[in-house]
Symmetry: C6
Subunit: 77 residues, 6 copies
């Protein structure tokens, strides 16, 4: 592991909604791990934010990430 | 976390059908988190509501979200 | 919750095959929740029933919904 | 439930490989539930059997169905 | 069940990496179950091995199959 | 199993973030298992790193792989 930003210290969140926010962050970090240039990512963002198929595909990723987070938090019960 | 609307206080719902409604809400909120402009979302909505491939992809997201909700509710048993 | 048809009272079914039927129903209800006009849905149905990619994508949704139902029923063991 | 063929009496299979076969059967039955005309299904089959994207999408469905079957069988342990 | 090659006797593998190899094998066997002609499969292979979208879709299938195998092996703990 | 590099000795990682890195590695190794020529993979990489649909599809794979890793690590609790 090289010297890099620590962005995921824990899967535990205080509330379900913070779990949603973490799910979104995890999805974005995956994309950033593949497309490492922030300028290119910024320019690409315009593309998919207006393409419903890609918005739905993004929501699919978030749903999977959230499933993991919800299990980690025992569903905040 | 900035000052924002709290829309997900709990994954617990009274009935399975309310669980379905929450799954749909969660899917929509994911899209709203990426495409933050409500006017653009409204205009995009026409696109995907008549595109069967996108309707099916949306149903895929709802199915995943519901899986999480059903587990949280111990399947309403 | 507005005044609406109750179509999902329980995830429990008598047999695995009834579980399959419920999975199909859940998939269809997701689509109906997004495309609320029954006439448009009917016209769209012709499209995807002859498009293998969309048939396979529909089967993907059914598989996920069934996974939830099977867990709820403890696999009908 | 109307009068119809019973094709799924149980998720239990003797071996993992029979579990694979059941997963394939379940995927096919989902498609048959949407495209109910066997003649059309037969003609469509030629399409997707030579389209790698659709073959891979079919394998995705089989993988999900098998996950459910494997859990039902406690992984044949 | 007809007389056919037994290729999946168990989901148990000695190591996680052998679990990956089994996941890849399971994905391939799904495709072979649908496209039964080995010559056609061979010719199709060239197509998807250079198409990143299909490579990623294949990786999605492998990830799902591996999830099942990892559970069967109690994560090799 | 032929003589080959051992790259996956365990699903256990010290931190969630290392779990993310393993998920990314697993996704890449799946692609490398199908497209075995490193030169071709390198040339393909340019394609998908600028294609948002493929970036999102890659994030979907990572999310599934991470789900398995998180379960193996009992969510690092």
């Amino acid at each position: 592991m090289e010297n890099k930003e620590i962005w995921l210290e824990s899967l535990i969140t205080k509330t379900p909604q913070e779990g949603r926010e973490l799910a979104i962050k995890m999805s974005r970090k995956s994309i950033a791990a593949i497309q490492t240039d922030p300028e290119i990512r910024k320019s690409l963002r315009k593309d998919y934010a207006s393409d419903t198929a890609q918005l739905i595909a993004s929501a699919n990723v978030i749903a999977i990430e959230f499933q993991t987070i919800a299990q980690a938090n025992n569903y905040w019960k």
